[in-house]
């Protein structure tokens, strides 16, 4: 069944708001995670460390170049995720609406592609995908 990644995208403001209320935030998040486990939909959930602690490995040149954060012009930074196994995109969106997210942050909802869907455009894979679709496998 379709898997969706709920990608938490925080801003400096939303991260600050979250940190100001961190205990309450942790408690409500734990409760939310419990709820998704009991609904049988949660496959994984993680939160990321302070973006300032991260680095970027840049492949623009011939050899990868490592630079410290922050990450260019990006205003919204990936701060954590929930991986869900749900019946529909609408259900993933409904769960996303319930995430105890700090004001100002955003959640991106993205479907996880099956191993059989990449690379796009390959003739054999396109055919196989059509076959699977016709049999309701995807």
């Amino acid at each position: 069944m379709p898997k969706y990644l709920l990608i938490m995208r925080g801003t400096d403001e939303s991260n600050a708001a979250m940190m100001a209320n961190i205990d309450e935030m942790m408690a409500t998040t734990r409760q939310f995670i419990e709820e998704m486990i009991k609904a049988g939909v949660l496959l994984a959930a993680e939160g990321l460390d302070d973006p300032g602690q991260g680095v970027v490995v840049d492949f623009s040149g011939e050899t990868p170049v490592v630079t410290d954060g922050p990450y260019g012009e990006t205003k919204e930074l990936f701060g954590g995720y929930f991986l869900l196994d749900v019946a529909s995109k609408q259900e993933a969106v409904e769960w996303a609406k319930r995430v105890p997210a700090a004001p100002g942050s955003k959640i991106e909802v993205r479907r996880v592609a099956g191993s059989d869907e990449v690379p796009q455009g390959n003739e054999r894979i396109v055919k196989e995908r059509a076959g699977r679709e016709s049999t309701g496998q995807i």
């Binding site: 069944m1 939909v41 196994d85 409904e94 059989d116 076959g131 699977r132 309701g136």
Partner: protein, 404 residues
Amino acid sequence: MGTADVEAVWRIESARIVAALTRFTGDFGLAEDAAQEAVAEALVSWPLASPANPAGWLMATARRRAIDAIRRRTALQDRYALLAADPAVDEEIDPDKIDDDVLALMFVSCHPVLSPEARVALTLRVVGGLSSKEIARAFLVPVPTVQARITRGKKTIAAAGVPFELPPAAERQERLGGVLSVIYVIFTEGSTATSGDRLLRPDVAYEAIRLARTLAALQPDEPEVHGLLALCELTAARFPARTGADGSPVLLEDQDRRLWDFSAIRRGLAALAKASTRGLGPYGLQAAIAAAHASAPSVEATDWDRIVALYEALGRVAPSPVVELNRAVAVAMASGPAHALAIVDELIASDRLPGSHLVPTVRGELLARLGRRPEARAELELAARLCANQRERSVLLRKAATLS
């Protein structure tokens, strides 16, 4: 908000709303009716104006419909009862009790007074949040059949006076076994459709996995719940490789194992570890067999001796002719087709699987491996006549044809 959005909210809320309403009213049938009325209203009104809190809207509306129903009923019966009923329905949901209530809902939906078909339909409807149409599609039966099963089921529950509570300790294990078997039946329908033109229906199997995950979260100390979840995860992990591009079945030996879902295998193995705390039960043993396959790089490199041992153990705790037949297949791989044929012939002699296409399927395979081609062909043709799944049937006929 469109229909799909309403359905999505309902899938998330169904079990909790029906459970809470059953707790308020003490009447499972009434609670289910009221919940369905609320969904029907949502389908009409949400596209025009979405509520700020859809889950709360559904609960409040369902509760009002339940109160209306009680009022109608008490108007006919006893007006004084209305006074008694009102305070009960005004209570808020107790968050500490809702888990037990959802669990009680699963036990009621899978109650032994119900027919097996009604258990499946009620579980998918009230716990899974599926519509009659979705259940009908899952089991390839007409929608009115599903509706009739649900209506009859609710009447049966009421007539038998089934209480809304967790089963008493003395019955707990047996009743839990009943819930597990309903989930298993749903999973099996998705993993090997008993009829129709498709071998796999992953959407149906998914509903079972979801129910098993819920049960595992609510009953974390029951090893067999984890065993069933492990079995479902490990079996579903092979789905991507089990059918070819045209939907025809691909046998285990021919499957491209790179297509197996390794995240699902990992989840299955984790669940199996939780199932193994006090020795494996029937579901745990089947999961261990599935794990042996899932961990093997090829058919040849599979630990068939271990699989034979697991089937022997399974035959001791849950004897069944199907287990014997599977043991025969494993024995054929571990120590050759002649030994296996003896097991199958014994099954036939005792007539323990009459009319099943599986016996002649396996016997035909074994005879073919022993070089007894005309007999093998006759067996596979017999199997094809007995098999109700069109996809499996054409594989059997193709195989029979190669033996002429």
